[in-house]
Symmetry: C2
Subunit: 412 residues, 2 copies
């Protein structure tokens, strides 16, 4: 049975919708060096300890700590230098009582030694001897075996978005070959509207406009870690519309239809999505502006979104619903939406019970950050080009007064 | 003559260094749909007005505004419906005095009409007539020709990092083919150290460790919009080292050498970079921790960086210097470093005159954000894996007290 929610606030709409989305993108294996920003399919454990041998963290002398106890400038300890630890090789020289071995940062602690005295706290003394002016505690300036990670420890959890240092950590353990990550969700993007022509069209006929939402939404998909596919422009014809969506659904992880903004076209879009399968349309309209007539549906556990055709509405609504849906399909936390506080430069009216998103430019005045609304109809893509982000007017506010602090969601 | 600055604060070091970097990455042309995150090589102007025809922003009736003046629920205006404007086609029906034409959102305003009355403010009245219950001002619910952008206007400035809506804006104007962007700077990454082996090495010999910095720094380069190339591991031999760097320089936009951390290796790295050409090494050591022994050089206007070998130091220093250098080569503003305020969970000691960067986890406690330091030696890559970002201890602070507010630079 289809549940149907009427004009919910965005957070409630998203939760009710994603609760019906049981589908997840599949798993593939890739090299760690190609895995930046991808999401781990499962936890990865360490096959070995890191470091695998005790290493010096400074340039100095490997010593037996008790030989240095009580050493000071006025009463140094005297040690015989019995050799040098070569970099990248096993330390073969053995340090016995009263002895020391020259060692470099990263060098292997030789047998017998348990600490390293920094070279700054020593000085040469006659033939093959050094004076040590400071005591070293056992383990001082030594990185112990497994101090970074022990063998068998979980290195990265499942559902983790891979960062540069994570790639370094995998390489450090010799996991350079293949790791399991979630496949980039395949997002199939359709536009509809008899007035739309492909963006490459050079000479428009009167009444025609170019399809730009496919390109904008495809770019948001890329940023969110998905693989968008621009499927083209559908006619305002219910059967052709249905046939195209039904054909795309089996190989898609997310279907997105950007429909015209007239009421008849919107209703046709909703009815066609509902025909695709159960539970069908779950949300038809969200309490937000711009973008109220957004459709959220699920078919066989897969998410389907119907976006309004106005470019500003389409971008705001895909950010509110499409980007979190991609994270959901990846089994990952949503990518960070960067928010910054700013004072509102002019009164921004709104209506309680609706979240408003107003394109703004950020400017610095007297050391404070101000948000200047770039007013424009939601048909105007260039209001967004000049803006740094969207000022959010909260659900239960009747607007934001000039000078009040508000929250700006920055464009990535 | 080589200028040489001794242990400068990071901001001063960066400015002194980049002032000597006159080289810029070249220009290439690509399709807008492939241009997300790229930087425009020059300003792009609009070849046409947008919209190219006056359009309706609502569903309703195109009218002559004066025909509706004074209309109200009790005294509606009566208009004869003379036709419907088809979507995507020229409006051929002409609206004369006392007439109206049915129009959909996005439809072309027909000749004679200058406003649109929303369908909600009308009702059918007998045969081919409507009642209009509200007056429409001239231009109401109409998007005028050029209201989004006029022909010849600058659409995107040069040096602009392309966002999803910018791609939509280019497509809207039919600029779907090729635009000029700055080539991704080619960053050649070398590691050095006799103890290093390639990350794919499965069985390490005692004293060996895998090269992980190349992978970490390559990932940071990718995030910053550059094209990294991992050039391999150099021996600790000045002539071989020099030969490899000199051979790479002509085709590189930025050279990065991650050297061992022992003093002798660091000095060899600095001397070798200095041999490459003028002005050579400009900064040898920055007032920051971890990563003090960083080398910043310029050769024939190209930037060269010598990073310390410890993975945490290398990552912090590349973020402070390498990422802004890539933006400089692109002629673009540096990508946004996301900073968030947080209260410090424990006392963090530091030294005035030095910026400290401490890996931290962010946790929420009683509605406030706290930064918990993940203490570890800078040799330990796994301290970074568990962290959300770096707590910055400012240059002139002697530390941050428990409970104080600090600034955390988030990992992207």
């Amino acid at each position: 049975m289809t549940e149907f929610f009427d004009v919910l606030p965005p957070d409630e709409a998203r939760a009710a919708w994603l609760a019906q989305v049981t589908h997840r993108a599949g798993v593939e294996t890739i090299a760690p060096l190609a895995a930046l920003g991808r999401v781990t399919a499962r936890a990865i454990s360490s096959p070995e300890a890191l470091p695998a041998f005790a290493r010096s963290t400074v340039d100095g002398y490997a010593v037996r700590a008790p030989d240095t106890f009580g050493a000071s400038d006025s009463l140094p300890a005297y040690l015989a230098v019995v050799g040098e630890v070569p970099m990248g090789q096993e330390a073969t020289v053995s340090v016995e009582k009263g002895q020391a071995a020259l060692i470099h940062t990263g060098g292997m602690i030789p047998p017998g030694a348990d600490a390293v005295v920094m070279v700054e706290h020593t000085q040469p003394f006659g033939d093959g001897e050094i004076e040590v002016m400071r005591p070293a505690a056992p383990g001082e300036n030594v990185l112990q075996v497994g101090e970074d990670v022990v063998s068998g420890a979980e290195v990265l959890p499942g559902g983790h978005r891979i960062q540069p240092q994570d790639i370094g950590a995998l390489l450090a353990l010799g996991l350079a070959d293949e790791i399991a990550v979630i496949r980039r969700p395949r997002v199939c993007l359709f536009s509809s509207g008899d007035e739309l022509v492909p963006p490459a069209t050079q000479r428009l006929k009167p009444g025609q406009i170019r399809d730009i939402n496919s390109g904008t939404i495809a770019s948001l998909c890329q940023q969110a870690g998905a693989a968008p596919e621009i499927m083209g422009i559908l006619p305002d014809d219910a059967d052709a519309f249905y046939a195209a969506l039904a054909a795309a659904l089996p190989d898609a992880d997310l279907l997105v239809v950007t429909a015209g903004s007239s009421v008849s076209v919107r209703d046709m879009t909703a009815r066609t999505i509902d025909r695709l399968g159960a539970p069908g349309v779950l949300v038809h309209g969200v309490a937000a502006r711009p973008g109220k007539p957004t459709i959220l549906a699920a078919v066989d556990g897969k998410p389907v979104i119907g976006l309004p055709g106005n470019p500003v509405s389409a971008l705001v609504m895909f950010s509110l619903f499409g980007v979190p849906a991609i994270a959901h399909l990846l089994g990952a936390a949503a990518p960070l939406q960067v928010r910054t506080p700013a004072r509102v430069a002019v009164n921004v009216p709104s209506t309680a019970g609706r979240e408003d998103y107003v394109p703004v430019r950020l400017v610095q005045r007297d050391g404070e950050q101000w948000a200047e609304p770039v007013f424009g109809k939601s048909n105007l893509i260039f209001t967004l080009v000049g803006a740094h982000g969207l000022l959010k007017v909260p659900l239960n506010a009747t607007g934001l007064r000039e000078g009040a602090w508000g929250e700006v969601v920055l464009f990535a």
